[in-house]
Each structure stands twice: as structure tokens, then as C-alpha cells.
Symmetry: C3
Subunit: 173 residues, 3 copies
Amino acid sequence: MVGISRCRDSTLEQVYDGRHRAGIVEPISGITAATIQEWREKIMLSSHTLKTGKEGCYDITSAVRDAIRKSGTVAGLCIVYCPHTTAGVTINENADPDVVKDLLYGLDKAFPDRTEFRHAEGNSAAHLKTSCIGSSVTIIVENGSPILGTWQGVYFCEFDGPRERKYHIKVIG
Amino acid sequence: MVGISRCRDSTLEQVYDGRHRAGIVEPISGITAATIQEWREKIMLSSHTLKTGKEGCYDITSAVRDAIRKSGTVAGLCIVYCPHTTAGVTINENADPDVVKDLLYGLDKAFPDRTEFRHAEGNSAAHLKTSCIGSSVTIIVENGSPILGTWQGVYFCEFDGPRERKYHIKVIG
Amino acid sequence: MVGISRCRDSTLEQVYDGRHRAGIVEPISGITAATIQEWREKIMLSSHTLKTGKEGCYDITSAVRDAIRKSGTVAGLCIVYCPHTTAGVTINENADPDVVKDLLYGLDKAFPDRTEFRHAEGNSAAHLKTSCIGSSVTIIVENGSPILGTWQGVYFCEFDGPRERKYHIKVIG
């Protein structure tokens, strides 16, 4: 018998995940409906880590696709959220890597460091870029996949690294 | 008898839509609950096309209102999503058309084309504007309508036209 | 007996809120399930007012936390929405107040007033800043609280005050 305390076990999650994808919906013996609900909600929110360089756009599209698949959500929304104030999330071209390099270059020209800035830490330009780019993106989920355009990828944008960063992926549906 | 294969028929959608708005909730003969669910989810996600000029902000507010009404959603959220990487979606003034003209002019000044850009296609400025403006907007739905401010309209922003463009409207509730 | 007409009474809301937080889920005598549903949806959308100065970022994080707690939502999303076209909402550092001052300064440098602007009201720069910053933020709710990073606060950004402003908080889950 498997109790609530074991529901956070990752092996079990994989079992659940496998059964779920196989279309088996009846509860595993010893696990109540409430537990499965709690468990499913946990799967629908995942946290990810990323080691960044000084500045850069990191393609996290495959992590987004995986989180949606694992949640078992057929139709709904997916939110990718950055909990930092000198890094953001955006959607842009995934084909030519020069596009995100130009993105960082152009942001630096529009929001350069300025002698008039008062923030003692000296990274006000990174805070500015963060509010311009935004702390999250919202993606539509349909048929169990994100509806992204042909050339769209999801990028974590580091404006003040190198750091160990986090981002969250939430799926609802 | 109407089968699943006919559920995507637009005339039938209108029948469903009319019944739905009239408060008739029992299934139409020959259509299962699962079919209606699938059907309703389809209505809650709609794709729209737009022929754009070189650059411009196109008011798509009425399409947003229509999609919300058709979904039958009383309270929830509406996401307007742009699947392109040189076009975005924003909310701004719907009264004086000069506002969105000034918006495009000011974006062009903040994010001009630069000789240092490496992207061979030559439209990096359009990619920059897209990440600044954003690929989607989220609107609150209440009493079956979007809660927009008096002067707010929803705009599709073309930064690298002319093109045939798409946008998606998703309603959840 | 308490009828539907009294359900919008704020004292009653507090009673409901208190019962809800205490884990009492059975309906109060005389109130139908439909009423409670209507009531709960009302609690899940709240409107707030703010008197602003000429320009400024106002920390509204505690109002966001309160709205989420009051909604009783354990896991879901929270949308903070600004219904104006010369004011926006952003997430940025809540520790050093100089950060949001630098944010306003840097936005003013990137999007200054320009003689070429045509909008007769003369506040096109404020409209530009609004579309750059955005009209809403989306926050993930988990364990009844917003998942904000250590240094993150939610800010209402006034770009063309002083005015009496509104913002809406919607919680879904």
C-alpha cells in the first residue's frame, strides 16, 4: 500500500505519468482521489534551474514542452515565470542564433547603464531590461502541446549574470 | 443523428452557440457529452488571419469580444496570442488613431536598425520591438465580456510586413 | 435567512471568508450553492483604487497577497490588470526604492517626449511606456500564496498623473 507520504517520490510520479499517458485513469490501489489531485497539481507546477553566463538568452522550449506533456493537460494555458528581478522570459526566433544576440545588443543600446542611476548595486540597466521584456510569458496549450509559431522559441533572458537561476512552469487546463 | 465528424461544421456550431446562449444545456440528440466538451473547447480557441501593411497597429478588439461571447464564458480569462516573431499584441488607446502611430514612431526611435546587427535577414529591429511589446495580452472576462478600460483597445502590431498574419484567441473560465 | 440580495454585503463576505479559511464548506442556511458560486467568483475578482502623483511606481504586493488569500484559491493563477492607457503593471525589486526610480528615469530616456508626436493630448510618451511595460502581470499561486521571488514586488506604474487610478486582481484556480 502506498500512502500520501510517498506520493512525492519521483519514481512513483513516473509510474503515474506513464499510466496517465496510457489513458489509465482509475486510482492506484491505496492512493485516494485527493492524493492524486494533490499529486497532479504538483506535476502541473515545476521548477527548473539554469546556470547562466554574464548575459544571454537561453532556449528553454524543450523544458516547456516536457512540462506540458507531463501534466497531461490537453487544452489550457502554460505560464513560464522568472522569479528574479534582473532576468526575464521572452518568446522570439529559434532558427538563427544571431537574433537573440541582436536582441541583447539592441536592449543594451535602448537601456544603457547611466551615471544618473542611484541604485547602489550598479545593475539598474538589468532591472530596466527585465521590466521591458517581462517576468513571464503565457502560451496556449492545445492537443497536449504548446501552440507556438514555426519560428518561435521560449527564452530565459539573463541580464546580470553569471548566476544560478530558477524558472517555474505552470500548466492549467 | 449527428456524429463526431460533423461537430466541426460551422452551421452546427452556430446552432450550439444559439442554444448555449439561450441557456439550453442538455445535449443535442446523437451528440455525446464528450463531443460537446471537445466542441466547446474548440470554440474557446479560435484562430484569425490578418493582411498587414509594412508596419501598423490593427484594432482587433471586436474579434476578441466576439470570441468571448461565442465561448459562452461568463467569468475567466482571455489570451490573445501572436505566433510570429516580428509582430506582437498590445493594449492601448482606441480613441485617437495618432496614439498608435506615435507608438510605432517611438519604438522605431528606441529600437532602430543598427549596422552592428548580425541577423542576415535584416529585420532585427522588428524582433526587438516584438520582445518589448510582447507576444500576448491577458484580459479578464466578467459577465461574458472583457473588462477593458474606457479607452483601451486590443492591437495586433506588425513590425515587418506586409504579410498574411495569424493570431489566436483562447478563452478559459 | 439570508437571500441572494444580501450576498454582496461585505460583513457577510467576511463571514464567508472566515468560514472558508476555517475549512467549513457546507452552505450557510438560506444560501444556495449557486449563490455561493456567484459570491466566490465575485471574491475572485476585486477592483482597487489608487491616487497617484505625476509619475511613480506604487507597491501593490500586499493587495495582491490579500486578494489571493481572500479568494481561498490554493493553486492557480493571479492576474493584476491595469485598465488605463498611460499606466501599467510590472514586477521588479522591492528592497531598494532607488530601483523603481531608476526604472522611471531609464524609461524616460528610452521613450522621451518628441516634437514629431501627433497625439494632441501631448502624452504619447506615457502611452509608449505603457505598451513597453504592459497592462498586466500573471503570477503563479501555490499553497494559497503568490510564488514571487525573494526580491520581487508588484508595482502599479503611473506615467501620466496625478490621477485617481484603478486596477483589477483576478484569481483563478
